[in-house]
């Protein structure tokens, strides 16, 4: 058990480091640029809508506190961390006076729901198909899917999402153009609402799956075609072990270990993709919120979303890392 404890400690350390570096970058971006964010934000907010003088005064105070424009850089840095650890980003400017944390809390379930489902489907499907394609090399159908995966893989999320939207919501309108659920529906836990949510999520999820699938497919196929030549696989084949059993127990299981690490490593990129997907499909998650916040000049909201994004991606990576020993028993022993 000693090895496992040490492993967990190391992963926790990595989690803290990711959050620390990420938040520090955020701090330096906002503090060491020549532009004064407080006045920029206030002028943007004032231009954005009717704002009373008291509100502006309150804003300036909150912003000064949030940016910590009092004191030297180190003091500012400490204040910044204090704010973030409390999860307190002040009121949103574009949806004044709703707190930023509330806006994020409202949008986060949408993003996580879409992202987790799409990522899991893409990962599982890509690995199964890739494993099959690596093992049954002469199958024409699997070869074709390989070509398709290779062709789709290098195209960025935005383009794929955009083309899907044009094809299936504009040229051949079988899916809705935008939104997370039907417009005049009240968010409630009943069948109509849930079905509507599912229906609206098909296209965004599909775009994420299509793009994500390719890299898992190719990774798995390469891994499997290497493992197939290993002695223990050949031995099992000669020993007359059922081919299906060889594929699932001897080949796939071993190939899944690096694929799991790959999943943890690429989570940040997957998250980037989800943000963009949301904007293209008008999905009411963190991504749409971020884009709107930038256009509205809502500094505290942008800062809040950046911070939450970094922390949640780091947390997701930590969860995958902690589940890793289940797949690779060597970690427990080492």
């Amino acid at each position: 058990m000693h090895g496992y404890g040490q492993y967990i400690l190391k992963r926790l350390g990595q989690f803290v480091l990711v959050v620390f570096v990420g938040i520090s970058i955020t701090f330096f971006v906002t503090h060491l640029t020549p532009i004064d964010p407080v006045e920029t934000t206030i002028s943007a907010a004032a231009a954005f809508g009717s704002t009373s003088p008291e509100a502006i005064a309150m804003l300036r105070e909150t912003l000064r506190e949030l940016y910590g424009t009092e004191g030297n850089v180190i003091q500012q840095y400490v204040t910044f961390w204090g704010r973030i650890l409390q999860g307190d980003f002040g009121p949103s400017l574009s949806a004044f006076p709703t707190p930023v944390s509330e806006l994020i809390a409202r949008a986060l379930p949408w993003t996580i729901g879409l992202l987790v489902t799409a990522t899991i489907i893409a990962w599982v499907l890509g690995n199964i198909l890739g494993g099959l394609a690596g093992y049954y090399r002469s199958n024409v159908l699997l070869k074709m899917s390989g070509v398709l995966a290779m062709g789709l893989h290098p195209i960025p999320y935005y383009i794929v999402a955009f083309v899907l939207l044009i094809l299936f919501a504009y040229v051949w309108p079988i899916f809705p153009l935008s939104g997370g659920y039907r417009m005049n529906l009240a968010p409630r836990w009943d069948a109509t609402f849930i079905l509507s949510v599912l229906y609206h999520s098909i296209l965004p999820a599909l775009s994420l799956i299509l793009v994500g699938l390719g890299s898992w497919f190719m990774g798995m196929r390469a891994l499997v075609s290497n493992i197939v030549t290993e002695d223990y696989v050949q031995y099992a084949e000669l020993g007359g072990v059922n081919r299906r059993r060889i594929l699932s127990r001897y080949v796939m299981r071993n190939a899944l270990v690096p694929q799991m690490t790959g999943l943890a490593m690429s989570l940040g990129a997957i998250f980037n993709g989800a943000i963009i997907t949301e904007e293209v499909f008008g999905y009411p998650g963190i991504g749409s919120l971020l884009v709107d916040a930038v256009h509205a000049g809502d500094y505290s909201l942008v800062l809040g979303i950046t911070t939450i994004s970094i922390v949640s991606v780091a947390a997701a990576v930590l969860i995958i890392d902690l589940a890793y020993p289940l797949l690779d028993p060597r970690v427990k022993v080492a």
Binding site: M150, P154, F162, I276
Partner: protein
């Protein structure tokens, strides 16, 4: 040079990749003979469909789509190349040092490395834009993205250097009194170069993809013609709804050609680097 010809002959993916990339390079090179200034708008009749005079039609902003595209392609390509070169320098430095020295230096560098791999870059880039607004030029963006995008490849380079460290010629160099800097730059660098080239392609795909995305959302300097800003302006003028499809189609087509070209080059180079797969391909060709 001989390698290139060999690859062209034996590797169909490499040939297709080169061909696609050549299209892109020729199109961007044509920007130097463009009859129109890149910054001018309303120089031709707007919203003209593709014709003999304007082979890709004209935009709603009164620009010739084709000539606009040549400038956009040039800038996009330059952007990707700058990010790739800058981040290659960083990843080479960190990968070589970390792999050769090992021990505590390696552990520290690699924890930092893994951190940068995981951090979601998009929100941070948006934050940069948010603070800098229009003072964010593409050069600035390239530098920022290079500083954030080196990590994945640094790990690759490190793993190669680690295996080189235990090889005999390294021992020999140490005994013959070469300094660490000499060993790393003269003995190990040549082994790492193929990886540097193949990751360049992937890195370009990554950075151009992010640039397109940021631009399409309007989060870069939208007055610089790039593929992303072209799509941005087309969206701003609701080109699809207005039926000006050529304004969207051609930039998207161009960037897809670029992506697939770069990707095929990276794949075929990776295969070339790995002797096992190169051998099996040669057998197949024979």
């Amino acid at each position: 040079m001989r390698v290139v010809f060999d690859l062209l002959r034996t590797n169909i993916e490499f040939a297709i990749g080169m061909f696609l990339l050549a299209i892109v390079v020729i199109v961007s090179a044509l920007s130097f003979v463009s009859p129109y200034e890149p910054d001018l708008i309303y120089v031709v009749f707007p919203d003209m469909p593709p014709s003999a005079e304007h082979i890709m039609g004209t935009t709603s902003r009164g620009q010739d789509t084709f000539w606009r595209l040549t400038f956009a392609m040039r800038n996009t390509l330059l952007f990707g190349l700058s990010v790739a070169i800058l981040s290659r320098i960083l990843s080479l430095l960190i990968g070589l040092v970390s792999g050769y020295l090992g021990g505590a230096v390696d552990r520290v560098l690699m924890s930092i490395n893994d951190t940068f791999v995981v951090i979601p870059l998009f929100p941070i880039l948006v934050l940069f834009y948010f603070v800098m607004r229009d003072s964010m030029s593409w050069v600035g963006l390239a530098i920022i993205m290079a500083c954030l995008g080196w990590a994945y490849d640094a790990r690759l380079i490190r793993s190669v250097t680690m295996s080189l460290r235990t090889r005999e010629f390294t021992q020999q160099s140490v005994f013959s009194g070469m300094t660490t800097r000499q060993i790393v730059s003269q003995e190990h660098l040549p082994y790492v170069m193929p990886i540097v080239f193949s990751t360049t392609m992937n890195n370009m795909n990554w950075s151009i993809g992010l640039e397109v995305t940021l631009s399409v959302l309007g989060f870069t300097n939208i007055n610089t013609p790039t593929i992303g800003t072209m799509i941005y302006w087309a969206n701003q003028h609701t080109a699809l709804v207005a039926g000006v499809w050529w304004w969207i189609l051609f930039p998207v087509l161009m960037v897809v050609i670029l992506f697939i070209g770069l990707f095929l080059l990276a794949v075929s180079m990776n295969e070339y680097i790995d002797p096992r797969s190169r051998l099996s391909r040669m057998k197949g060709a024979a």
